[in-house]
Each structure stands twice: as C-alpha cells, then as structure tokens.
C-alpha cells in the first residue's frame, strides 16, 4: 500500500479507513511519495502500528521520502519508519 502525497487533515479519515480494511494483514506502507506528513496522520499511523502489534501482525513503513522523514523528525517520531518492527 502506498501512502498518499499529502497526509493532512483531509487524508486522516481515508487513511484510517484504508488501514482498517487491511486489518489482520501484514502491512508494508510505502512512504516514497509522501510530500507532507501532518499530526493527525501521524496519529493514525502510530495507532495502526499499535493495533497491528496488539493483533500480532507485522507492520512496516518502508521507503520513506525525505519529506516524510523530515516531518516525522519534526514531530518527534523519527523512528516511525521503523516503528513496525515489533521485536
């Protein structure tokens, strides 16, 4: 699954819905096209990571774009790209 270019207020609900549809499946989210990561979508991603962890299923964010990585760093979640690696 590819993450959209803009992860802002408008994208948050859709992102959650898309992720919920894939619940129970192993996920590798491609962040290569992301140009903007906002606070709400960050919440969705972390909540999804936690959910997948509770469900015991792999969850990864791969190939983060520089914008994604920069946004995550500013938001204090630099490790989001590797957050899915539940040990």
């Amino acid at each position: 699954m590819k993450l959209p270019q803009v992860l802002d207020l408008a994208a948050a609900t859709t992102l959650r819905t898309q992720l919920m549809e894939r619940r129970g499946q192993k996920l590798a989210l491609d962040g290569g096209e992301v140009e903007r990561l906002g606070g709400l979508c960050l919440q969705v991603l972390i909540a999804a990571r936690n959910q997948w962890r509770v469900d015991g299923v792999d969850f990864h964010i791969v190939n983060p774009s520089p914008a994604f990585a920069d946004g995550a760093r500013l938001l204090g979640a630099d490790d989001i790209a590797s957050l899915g690696d539940a040990p």
């Binding site: 606070g39 919440q43 959910q51």
Partner: protein, 720 residues
Amino acid sequence: MDPMDAIKQTYFQECDELLASLEEGLLSLEAGEADSDTINAVFRAVHSVKGGAGAFGFQAMVGFAHVFETTLDAMRSGKLDPDPEVVKLMLRAADVLADHVAAAKGEGTVDEARGHAMADELAALVAPEGGAPRTSATPASPAHDEDGGDEWGFKPLKFGDDEPAAASAGWRLVMRPTKAMYAKGHDALLFLRELSRLGPTATTLDTSWLPNLEGLDPEESYCTWTVELPAETPEVAIRDIFDFVGDDCPIELTLSGANVVEPPAATPAAPIDIDALLNSVRTPTAEREALEGGAEKPAAAATPAADKGASKNVPAPAGAGATIRVDLERVDRMIDLVGELVINQAMLQQRVMESGAARSSTIAMGLDELEQLTREIQDSVMAIRAQPVKSVFQRMPRLVREAAGATGKQVRLVMEGEGTEVDKTVIERLSDPITHMLRNAIDHGLESTEERVASGKQEEGTVRLAALHRSGRIVIEVSDDGKGINRPKVREIAVKKGLIAPDASLTDEEIDNLIFLPGFSTATTISNLSGRGVGMDVVKRSIQALGGRITISSIPGKGSTFTLSLPLTLAVLDGMVVSVGEQTLVAPLTTIIETLRPKPEEVRRLGPRGAVLAVRGSHVPLIDIGVALGQRSEPIDPTQGVVLLVESEVGGRAALVADEIQGQRQVVIKSLEANFQRVEGVAAATILGDGRVALILDVDAVVEKMFSDRRDAAPLAKAS
C-alpha cells in the same frame, strides 16, 4: 498553604482518582472485558501516577510504578495476555502502588519486602521476552523511561525547589493541539517547524492518550509534544508562533524548571462540547457533582498528573465534565451560613406574625417567598456536599481480596449502586462500618470452600454490597450467600455470657439481634480478620451515632443480609416540635410512625410505674419523655398529653408521651458535643424561630434507657 503543598495535594487527589480507575480497569479485565481501551486506561493510570511521583521525587513510587508500567505496556502491545492470574497479580500490584501513594501522603508505610517481591513478580511476567528478569534493585532507580517507555516520551515537569534544576537549562514548551485546531487547517507540524527555526530543538511526542486504530477518531487530537529550546530563545518569539491559534492549541512554557510562566488553567485544551456541557449543567446530576478539596487549585498545567488525569485531549470519559474543586471548608462555611439564614428567616417570620400582620399582607406573602427561596438555597447547598458512595465502595475490592486471602476462601464481591449520593460527612463515616460488615460476611458468613462444595454451593462465595435511596434515606446492604446466622449457637453464647436468661423465649429476629450486644463474638477461635472483641456492637453504635439503623435478616443455609439505613445529611432534619414541661423538644420525623391522643381505656398500668398503650391490637410501652430526660419525676397522664408512636432500633415500637405538639418543621442541626457535651437521650440541638435552643431527641437512646431500666428489674421483661 505553601504553593508546592497545594500542587502536591492536587497530585494526591489525582492519584486517588487514577488508582480508582486503575482498579476499575483491572476489575473489568478480570471480568473478561479485555478491550484495548481498558488496557490503555489502566496503563495511563499507572503512567500518570508515575509521572507526578517523578516530579515530586517519590523515587520508591517511581521505581515501582515503572516496573508495573513496563508490564502493562507488554500487555498493551499484546506480548502479555491479560489472563486471570496476571490480572490478579496486577490487582495486588495496584494495592502496592496505593500503599506507595499513601506513604507519600504520609498516611502509612510501604511493606518494602512485599513491594520488592511484587516488583519481581511483575518483572518476571515480561522477563521471557525482555531478557533477564529485573531484580528488585531496578525499581529503586529513577528510570525515566530509558527502556520500553521512550515511545511514550513522557518526561515529568520539574518544578519547585524539591528537586535540583533540570540538567538542561532552557525553555520547555508543552503544546496540546486540539481537535478544533486541526479542523481549522492548522497542523502541529507547522508549529514544530517554526519552533525549529528558532534554534536547535529536542522534540518529544507523548502518545499515551492515543488509542489503537480501532478506537481512533482520525480527526481528534490525542498527542502532545514537548519541545526543548535553548534558554536564550526570546520568550516572545516562542509565544508569537502560537499567537494566532490561541485556545485551539494551549501551550505551557517554562524556563528550566522555573515557575510556570503562563497559567493555562483558564485555557481548556479539550474541544469543549458546548451542548454536552449545557446538558450536563441542566441535569440534576451536574449540580450534585462532588466538589471537593484544594481551594487554591494551582494552575492545572503545573502538575503533570493533573495534565494527564484531566484528559485534556481525549474525548472526556463520563463524569470528567464541568466540575471544579472547591475547598471543603468553604462549602461547610456556606452550609453553616445557610443554616443561620434558615433560622433567621424563621425568626423573622415569627416576629412578623407576633406583630399582628395579616396572613394576606404583603409582608407575610413576601416572607413566604423568602421561605421558599431559603429552602431552595438550602437544598442546593446540601446538594453540593452530596457525593456518590463510590469513594467508599472503591476501597472494598481490595479489602475483600485481602480478607479472602487471609481466610483462604474464594470470594466474589458484587457492588451495586455506587453512584448513590449522600452527604460527604455521612460517606466519611460509612467506611468503617462497611469494612467491618464485609469482613464479618467473609469471615463468619461465608463457609469454607470445602463446606460450600459439600452443601452443593458454588465454590466461590458471593458478597454483595449495595447502596440505594429509600424514602429519604440511604440504605446500604451487605449480604452474603453463606450459612446464615447460627441461631442455636448465638443463643448458647448469649446465655453463657449472661446476656440473656437461659429460659428466655426469643424470636429468630431477637436472637439475630443478640450479635449486636457488646462483647458478643461467635467465632470459636479468634481469627486475624474479625472477632477481636470489637464486634457488631461497635458497628451498631457508629451507625446510630449517624442517626442510622441497622437490621439483619438471615436464612439458615442461604445467607445473611445486613441493612444499614442512614439519613442523607447530618445538617438538617425534619422534626416534630413538641413541648415537654417547660422545654421544647424536636423528635426526628423519620422515627415517628404516628401521633395520637390516647383514650383512657387504651392505657393499661403495668407494675408500679410502667404503663402500656393498646394500639390496634398490640401493646407498646409508654415512655414519658419528661421523666426519661430527668425533667420531672412523675409521668403526666398520657390521656392529657399526646403520644408519639415511634419505631426504635432497640426495642421496636414505643409510645413517647409529650405535653403537646407545636408543629412540624425542618431544623438545622447543631452539634451538642461540639458546642457543649454529650447528653444522654439527646442527639443534638437546634435554634428555633424565636431564638430559643431546642434539644433534638435521641429516640433510640430514650427507648433503650427505658428497656435497660426495666431489664435491671426483670431480665427480658417483654412489654408486648
């Protein structure tokens, strides 16, 4: 109050609430309701207690909470199953945490061995995956989330001078975006980017309020950020960034652990649902919301625990609505003043009547309106003091666990009516009697597991604790499904102890009531739990001191129910004002069944001084109030006075003789003990409309005195 103390007090209050929700959450996990929200709530509770403990330097508490939190985190992330054994352990861990809080308050000590053993047990739960089990040495280290917790990014604020200044001098900014902020198109990212342009920043994300995806509202704001900036950054530059969002993104700005610069208490962070707020204000429950403690409520932001506990950024759970904390003294002062107002109003009314003003005059009508208003004010003020009994009930699961552990019995506690409200003074004094009755129910009421199995019952005994309102009083019921009162044994013991005559003929109810006699104990061996000589008589006395009653109903083999009935408030009383000789007395209306003027043929002499009254086929003892209180030596002729037929706890019905009835009214209770001293037969005093002091009758004491006088003459002479 020292500001630091005030903050600490607020933290302790938060702790009490957090511990309660911790226990509540664990109990629902125990009941098999393991959803991620519950686990999150439990985690947050421990996390928040720990946060505040760190800020105040309660290192032992931080250490223990840290281990607890780590285990809960494992549960939260699905590495640890909340199976019954694990949850039981966690319940006990919650007890230890409560001990730590109590110790921090200075109200007790922590059993260190128990705490360490518990920490080891907790650590062992996560050890298989987390490497070597943590030893008890770990909890002693401050350990602010170096491991396992960094994703929560929680760092308690340091403040006051208890702790040395934080190592990194500089600005610490906590920003709490709201749903409204995002809805208006702003984003936390933009502020963080602007901040990063001011200088090197260190940003920490706090996601401890974030639910899992399933429970997530994608447009709600759950996360908060803490940003550290160099000390040389101009304050105004930081504030400017947030200038245009205002309340949509409240911030707290502190300089290297110094004072809170901005008092953000006035800026509610949560998106306020005005409709919900208004609705809650309109409902009667809102006005009954408990308002307690902490007059000088410090800026909420100054306590990390307050921040966490107040659930700023999450959709508020039920009950965390529009409430304020008010120092109890202020409320009490107001109640006193309203009491004075009621008395003053009554006096005014009486003066006006005495002056000969007509009932229809404008003055009299104005006074009637004043009376209604005063009544309403009084009711409203009393409602402020009303609190749900939950605060007492929530301590009971622990007690039951410990009692079950001590007796080796399996006990399930069922609680009902925790939301039932009653005056705070009553609540405070309910704890001991309920504690004692629950212990008794477990120790004496329930059978051992083997006995239960042998008699075909479930292995697990059930103890029920319920609260309800019934006819203007609060009723507390403690019942068990045990063996019921062993009446032959109770009787045998009473005879052996000389409490009753060997040949006394007693009804089942009378036998049951023998356990309330002082010094009575049925346990053949003195157990650790109850039966230390302080028994049900103490319970009964403390209930009576509250103006309450206690009754038992017991079915052999099926169990017993103890029912407490208490007044809802100790501040006012509906009473019947009567004259006895020169005195004016008030009899509590709740004790009076009816009033009547006896006919000569209904009064029968009994012995040289005694008399009974025939009331609809039964005979009740006649008691002259004046004689009972020592105002006169000879009783008046009952047919010349009036009789108050009362129901007393001690001797059933009795007929109290007074000279005449003046009327019924609500009176403000003034403690006689506090202002003078305890007087037998008198419960309290009040001030009447004409300014005179009137005594409030202690009906039970009067009846009991009569019975004990007669018992001295002839053991168990039954009047009816």
